[in-house]
Symmetry: C2
Subunit: 380 residues, 2 copies
């Protein structure tokens, strides 16, 4: 499968952004995070793992984006479709890109500059430098009106293909779990080996892997692995966000170590029922809240939520992005959105089971990107 | 090797922070990023990969830290030494922790609240919510006076042991590169297999891996891998930041595909000379700039810097953290700091070689945590 995107894809993203910027009276967008910068440039590197240097992308109301970046990234940015690349030698203890960014925005005569300020956004640069930038600007920085998040929420066919590829890789890795897990194997070893399976099946890297294992359910779904060996009667859960060409999958699978208890089997089947209930109604025009309620009715009888929070979320360049399947999120789903259906069920005091699938929203029935699981848990 | 830290280690970190807070007239610290929150709590999870929820830690001028976090993290935070854990059901579209955080800080009667604002810091929460927090506070938010970064820069023996463990794992993986790389193997396959080797040798996960391969040197050190097969005469570079129990190593190795050219051999030997020159002078009391100049004299004859930027940096809970080996950084090194020595050398138009080692600063000669490489490049 082809990596990257043709320039036309980025031109289209820019054109749509600029149309919305015009409606929101924005003269420029300022972007600072890895996915936002990559969305308009194709700049893909794990180097963001280093917090030492800020990176900026300026999208004017018309014309092409301008990269304002550390010189160490000039070679790689030069391989993208971006032509206007302005660099400084970072880290610079006296002026770490502040004046270069300020000059760039002032040079555009930008009066209203939008930057993401809404939920799950953050500004990836030091607050002290942010204050300096604002002092130096002739214009004013305001919320980007959600433009960046809204654009990213609806995926192109090429983006869907990459997420689908990531899902297929994880699916093959999950199918091989019986090779690596069983009674007596420490959970930490299972997680290490599962990452290896993901790589062998084609993942570029595995930024997220959570696992739990306990009798009748696990305590939470975000803990790193302990060295405790699996024992008969445990339910083992593995939840991975692996990446292919910069796009994530995010789904989990549950396995029974030894014979499955009736209690766990029933709970698992109910989770699959909940996924089915969500899938039955989810399509362009449905709201996130409606999908939540369809699933919540199955897993809690309609309690309206739990501490685990949402029953799914958007997915794409990040492990989680965009909408949440919660009662208060009334986002209207659109064809091209990719979301997870992630019902959880309490199976006892402080214990739960969670199941997750990744789907593409269409005008009709959703398309499952993850290999849809059946009601029966796989026995190890 | 034991995972985690005893409560005494966290108590010591808190006590030192509170002493410095007193000197800086700070009534509380507010922390929002993964390493800063983990430093005072031990809260270790890959769940930060999801940007959807903010997480807060409040450290009062006296007493224990207070975790203000999404309820999905309560179980895991409850396993740390933290006792005061306040949660909300996130994501909450109307109030995503804003009032809980504000109430917590106002409840402490905090007038001056420090948060990291200096180089390489950022605030991990939405700007719109940050504005709301500041409106709701009785006190004022100011720079944390670098306290968090200064504390984290000097490692405890237990922290050094974890970094050392990560270095040893990477060292064993590098020793096995001849198993996976050679003429005809695509670079992307080498990177995938190298991650597998890191996991097999004991890495918990591999958040960073960069690679380059070309005749006589590579174009940059941050690109993801292409599918181009290695060919005789290439220099292959692999640079990894793998993690063991939340601590990174960060060093690279260069390999010759087939016989080594005299040009590459000489350049590589010069990089080792530069590391030796840095190691000869680096100890408690030396400045970052002095170490830079000792190495720069070898690699450029004393040009004073290049676009690749620094010749090393701090290391620990992040791939890169703290000081930079550049002419303008006059940070005085202290025993217990862990840094990298990372000289680079231009080997032609747009080509370079980079070598990197990880060392512990002591009162005498530095202790190499990475298995110190000799002048001869390994031939594949």
């Amino acid at each position: 499968m082809e990596r990257g995107f043709p320039p036309a894809e980025f031109q289209d993203r820019v054109a749509r952004a600029q149309k919305w910027m015009q409606a929101a009276h924005l003269d420029a967008l300022l972007l600072t995070t890895e996915p936002d910068v990559r969305y308009f440039t194709g700049f893909l590197t794990q180097f963001w793992e280093s917090p030492s240097r800020p990176w900026f992308l300026v999208l004017p109301a018309s014309g092409m984006p301008i990269a304002v970046i550390p010189s160490i990234g000039a070679e790689l940015m030069g391989q993208t479709w971006i032509e206007d690349i302005r660099t400084w030698r970072a880290p610079d203890v006296t002026d770490d890109g502040v004046s270069l960014l300020t000059d760039t925005l002032n040079g555009l005569n930008a009066k209203r500059i939008g930057t993401p300020m809404g939920m799950e956004s953050h500004l990836r640069m030091p607050l002290a430098d942010w204050a300096r930038v604002q002092v130096g600007l002739n214009g004013k920085v305001v919320d980007d009106a959600g433009i960046t998040a809204r654009l990213r929420a609806v995926k192109s066919d090429r983006e869907v293909a990459k997420i689908s590829q990531a899902c297929a890789i994880a699916g093959r890795a999950f199918a091989r779990v019986p090779e690596i897990a069983g009674a007596g194997v420490p959970l930490s070893q299972v997680l290490r080996d599962f990452q290896r399976l993901c790589l062998e099946e084609g993942a570029d890297w595995v930024p997220y892997l959570a696992g739990g294992a306990a009798k009748g359910g696990y305590g939470d779904v975000i803990s790193p692995a302990s060295d405790t060996p699996l024992t008969d009667g445990d339910v083992l859960m593995l939840d991975t966000g692996l990446v292919w060409d910069g796009y994530f999958c995010d789904f989990d699978r549950n396995f029974s170590v030894g014979p499955i208890s009736m209690h766990s089997e029933t709970a698992h089947a109910r989770l699959i029922d909940a996924v089915n209930a969500g899938a039955d109604i989810v399509r362009a025009g449905t709201t996130a809240a409606e999908v939540f309620h369809a699933m919540d009715k199955i897993v809690t009888g309609g309690a309206g939520g739990s501490d685990a929070g949402r029953l799914g979320h958007g997915l794409g360049m990040q492990l989680t992005e965009g909408l949440s399947l919660i009662p208060e999120d009334h986002t209207v789903l659109e064809a091209g959105m990719v979301i997870t259906l992630e019902p959880g069920i309490e199976t006892g005091q402080g214990k739960m089971l969670v199941h997750e699938e990744d789907i593409l929203i269409t005008d009709g029935a959703p398309q499952f990107l993850s290999p849809r699981a059946g009601p029966h848990m796989v026995q190890l």
